[in-house]
């Protein structure tokens, strides 16, 4: 057995352990979930501070005896706010400046835009009027954009302000989050306000931009002023000398239903208003992003420090910082939650795939009857495949909100094409001479389909199903962006926190799951393959099968 095979075996063992570990606690949890009120759904956007505030909100609510459901890491501002509007989540941490520009698409006169009070007053009123959502009083700190450069870049080009950056811009490459590139208070605004025109702009995932900057792959990035990583990499934050960025005060943004029906939750969340200063937040972010401490521990310490909770969670007390563990030990320490996520992942894939088979096989058969429509319809399904998953998920939100439903629909759409094409091609190409003879001997069209063409097409249809299954296992990792859970959760969170091991704790089981699902479907394929094909191919396949099974 070679090294690769051994690693695969360990991975399989890990996955099995996850599955076993995941089932039992999930059952136990369900049994004890007898708290009467519906849980408050607390969410976040996919970057470190948002995760931490989400956990803080959640623990605060729990400390007041309220049931909480966590939906951290929703893909972007549109997704998170869309979820607030549709009632799919109840609360998430947002920033007033973001509310002003990215949610309301408003602008205030420069003097007012720099005034935290004026911005808060405006967004509170406008958000309530237009969307019925409510901003709770700000938490007490601002987290504005911090355009940052390396120290040596600052020294070389004499960069201290954004005006300096605009002057040196043509020589510099920006590494910016997609969010920032697209927002009116992002790159477009900087171009307008400062005349900034960088040599190039590279879109980067939030968790990667600091590493990219430190490695010299880019020259400046859009950080957040409270990011722990600003200090870790010893970066220079450029001064917004023309006062372009509005005030970005952090606050809890609350959906209509929670604001109306749950005064207990509102009262609890309001306890945080004005209590978190910038220094406290930066230190807390640093513990999570730089030191790799468990977010739950940091959030609990914050609550205890603020006198909002006296209770320590004994189960978490001994949790070592993530950085202190080796990869194997880390994976072992997260086997229970990963097991749960793996089950959920599998469930998402299974449901989406089953629904796709139910629709795409009859569709493929129908297209064989109406050949003229085949290429247009299959072409359209093929185009769906080319839409990036995250874009497809965002399109779903206005229709289906966030959570499991839009994720299932998106996965279902991805799975349709390979199955429909496999069915169409399989039935169209099924041994034409045999099909003709069956017709000439008096089989009806229906009999030919069920007794001849489908059995002959089965291997090709199954190949389509297997392709769809592997695609779906991969695409389902992105379902985490819209709060559907699954193995994408640690991937998204890990990317946001630049935590490679957390990313691997989702990615490795997802890869193993893809192999397992494909293998399981290969067995199904053997069962539906007509005996004559099995018996001819057995001789050829057996040796390769034997190799395959010994290495997994």
């Amino acid at each position: 057995m070679n090294g690769r095979a051994r690693r695969l075996m360990h991975l399989g063992g890990f996955l099995a352990a996850c599955l076993i570990a995941g089932v039992a606690p999930a059952e136990a949890q369900r049994a004890s979930a007898a708290i009467p009120a519906t849980p408050v759904i607390v969410a976040s956007k996919p970057f470190g501070e948002s995760y931490l505030l989400c956990e803080l909100f959640a623990q605060l609510l729990e400390s007041r005896g309220l049931a909480v459901e966590r939906r951290p890491g929703l893909g972007a501002t549109e997704i998170a706010f869309g979820a607030i509007r549709s009632g799919a989540i109840d609360v998430y941490p947002e920033y007033t400046g973001t509310g002003l520009i990215a949610i309301l698409h408003d602008s205030l006169p420069d003097s007012l835009a720099r005034s935290p009070k004026a911005v808060f007053a405006h967004v509170t009123r406008a958000t309530a009027d237009r969307y019925g959502a409510r901003w709770l009083p700000p938490l007490g700190f601002e987290n504005t954009y911090a355009i940052a450069v390396r120290k040596e870049t600052s020294a070389r080009y004499g960069l201290h302000t954004l005006s300096d950056l605009a002057r040196a811009g043509p020589a510099l490459t920006g590494g910016l989050t997609a969010d920032f590139i697209g927002r009116p208070d992002g790159l477009a605004g900087l171009r307008r306000a400062y005349g900034l025109s960088p040599r190039a702009v590279k879109p980067l995932a939030p968790g990667l931009k600091y590493q990219a900057l430190a490695a010299g792959a880019v020259d400046f990035i859009d950080g957040y002023s409270t990011d722990g990583l600003l200090a870790k990499y010893d970066l220079v934050v450029l001064d917004d000398d023309r006062r372009f960025f509005p005030a970005y005060e952090a606050a809890a943004l609350v959906g209509t239903r929670l604001a109306r029906d749950r005064p207990d939750a509102i009262a609890a969340l309001t306890l945080l208003s004005g209590r978190l200063d910038e220094g406290t937040m930066r230190r807390a972010n640093r513990r999570v992003e730089v030191d790799g401490e468990d977010m739950r521990v940091v959030a609990r310490d914050l609550l205890v420090g603020l006198g909002l909770s006296g209770r320590a969670h004994p189960s978490d007390a001994g949790a070592a910082p993530r950085n202190a563990l080796g990869l194997g030990a880390y994976l072992w320490s997260v086997r229970v939650p990963i097991g749960r996520l793996t089950l959920r992942h599998l469930l998402l894939v299974a449901i989406a795939l089953a629904l796709a088979v139910v629709v795409a096989v009859p569709l493929g058969l129908a297209l064989e009857r109406v050949r003229g429509a085949a290429e247009p319809v299959l072409g359209a399904l093929g185009v769906l495949q080319t839409i990036p998953s995250i874009a497809l998920l965002v399109f779903m939100i206005p229709l289906l909100g966030v959570g499991v439903r839009p994720a299932l629909v998106a996965l279902w759409l991805y799975a349709l094409y390979p199955i429909a094409r496999g069915t169409f091609v399989g039935v169209t190409d099924a041994d034409p001479k045999a099909v003709e003879a069956a017709e000439a001997l008096g089989m009806t069209a229906h009999q030919r389909l069920l007794q001849v063409r489908l059995p002959l097409a089965a291997p090709v249809i199954m190949a389509g199903v297997r392709t769809a299954a592997v695609i779906t296992v991969g695409a389902a990792t992105l379902a985490a962006f819209i709060g559907a859970g699954g193995l994408g959760e640690p991937i998204v969170t890990g990317l946001a926190l630049a935590d490679t091991r957390m990313v691997l704790s989702g990615a490795l089981p997802a890869a193993a799951l893809a192999l397992l699902v494909d293998g399981a479907l290969a067995l199904v394929a053997r069962l539906v393959t007509p005996a004559y094909r099995r018996s001819t191919s057995r001789k050829r396949r057996e040796p390769s099968n034997a190799r395959g099974s010994s290495s997994i």
Binding site: K433, A437, A438, A440, L441, M443, P455, Y532
Partner: protein, 270 residues
């Protein structure tokens, strides 16, 4: 193998349909937009119980004419009758189940065993002695049911596959069978074997047979009557002897001479 047991039909249970008379009158068919005539006012008749061989080159229209009898081709004009009855008066599947059919390559269903293939038409007809008919038909075609019944088509030789196709065509004891170059794709030895098996089968069943072939020698050996076709028209009808001694056209004369010359060369070299 060719001389395996041939069970006479009379011994078998169930009923065999009486051989049917087949007739085509004024049949015209065109293919495609060009309107080229594949069949041009064809008249011909196969008396009940006869084996009529349709002979001609590729594109002469012989296969098209054959396929008019099971309505795999619907001619543009003219009438096709079976025992005087227009084939269009029957539901198409009903008609086809009474017309045995053997295409050139057998057209066996690759995912079915020999038994299941041979029993196709009796099962479609809902007959209650399917297994018995399969045994009988396989024996007629020169295949021992116990040996070959559970095999799949890919496990057979080309000649054995054609035997299964023959068995499938006669298992329901139809009044007529349609054979489209059934021996065309075989090597010379299998071909001679299968031709003998076919003659035995004909003797045992007396089923009316339309046999399409491009080989005049084969037509002469197997057919009671020959119909020579060329470019969608019938050149001549008659026995081989009639064709030889009073050819109706120069084409028929050439065809006969060439065939005889070939046989003569064979004779000399032997």
């Amino acid at each position: 193998m060719t001389d395996e047991v041939v069970a006479p039909l009379s011994k078998a249970g169930g009923t065999a349909s009486a051989p049917a008379a087949l007739r085509a009158s004024g049949v015209v068919h065109t293919f495609g937009a060009s309107g080229a005539r594949a069949l041009d006012a064809v008249d011909f008749e196969a008396p009940a119980g006869a084996c009529v061989a349709l002979v001609g080159e590729s594109g002469s229209g012989k296969t098209t004419l054959l396929r008019c009898f099971n309505r795999m081709v619907e001619p543009r004009a003219g009438v096709i009758t079976v025992d005087g009855r227009d084939v269009r008066d029957l539901p198409v599947e009903t008609l086809r189940r009474t017309m045995g059919y053997v295409p050139q390559d057998g057209g066996l269903l690759p995912h079915w065993t020999v038994r299941r293939n041979a029993g196709l038409v009796p099962r479609l007809l809902g007959l209650d002695d399917v297994e018995q008919r399969v045994d009988e038909a396989l024996a007629l075609a020169g295949l021992a049911p116990a040996v070959y019944g559970s095999r799949y088509p890919h496990e057979l030789s080309g000649g054995q596959r054609q035997r299964v196709a023959l068995a499938r065509a006669v298992a329901a004891r139809p009044p007529a069978i349609l054979l489209d170059e059934p021996f065309g794709a075989l090597d010379a030895i299998s071909r001679a074997d299968l031709q003998s098996a076919f003659e035995e089968l004909r003797r045992a069943t007396g089923v009316t047979t339309l046999l399409v072939t491009h080989d005049l020698a084969e037509a002469a050996r197997l057919g009671d009557w020959l119909v020579v076709m060329r470019a969608g028209r019938v050149e001549q009808r008659g026995s081989f002897s009639e064709l030889r001694h009073s050819p109706a056209t120069a084409y028929v004369q050439t065809l006969v001479e060439r065939t005889l010359a070939g046989l003569a060369r064979l004779e000399e070299s032997a």
